[in-house]
Subunit: 140 residues, 2 copies
Amino acid sequence: MKLEYQNISQQIKQKGLKITTQRIIVLEAIYDLGNHPSTDEIVKFVQEKHPAISQGTIYKTLDTFVENKIIQRVETSGGIFRYDGITFMHHHLHEDGTPRIEDYYDENLNNMLIDYFANKNIPGFKVHDIKLHIKGEFTK
Amino acid sequence: MKLEYQNISQQIKQKGLKITTQRIIVLEAIYDLGNHPSTDEIVKFVQEKHPAISQGTIYKTLDTFVENKIIQRVETSGGIFRYDGITFMHHHLHEDGTPRIEDYYDENLNNMLIDYFANKNIPGFKVHDIKLHIKGEFTK
DNA sequence: GTATGTGCAAACTTTTTGCACTTCG
DNA sequence: CGAAGTGCAAAAAGTTTGCACATAC
């Protein structure tokens, strides 16, 4: 699945944030890196081409993007931050004992879950989003 | 839902690990603390009653327990380790923007998911376990 | 012009490590 | 007794912060 992200500045502008070179480059990096990059991977990728962009700025930029829901933090058991530029409903395959995470898209599954929770009320909780963490091992 | 954990030593022994006072106390702490404690919470809880047990030992003990599947690390977006003593199939309610995580037990949901993935093959991936991360907000 | 964002470097938090000593089985 | 586990303290890894300067709008 290919991500459409024509207008990076648009995404930033829509949230009422100022459009800066640093923000464009960081957001682009996340889309380019794809596979749920860690902060460290993003910093290295950005600084390879733009060594003047400081690590502090990248950290702050990532926080800002998460707060404004331009990207999401990936939920891992690893104790470090990883990011995901895809904000529509999808799931994650997590390999046991390794940091590998792949996206899993499944419309039927989504519909099944949406149906199920449309009828099922969880007392004391209002559902915003559902993500499956499917754990196992990659065979290739 | 109440957890049955009569025999803590048994759990440790069954994995071929040596039974030490420290291990018993750490595992007991996780069960007592319940709600997906962080490493820090475990360290504080343990050291309140047993100040001689060092933080390094607690970290190593937690690693050992995770490796031996006596406990699991909780997948969070928080960048710190949190633990779960419940190893049978269950799901988590994650509150947006807070560290609150509650367990969610649902037999029908489990069966639905097991059925679905029994028939659905994910190419290149062998499923071991499935956990829903249900994100939203607590209304109480 | 002013609110917002950036760069730098130091501080802080959390986790890992190495090694001598101790304990379980 | 020997392999496995513990305590201590230092180091490493990852993240946050404060403040002077720069920039978007």
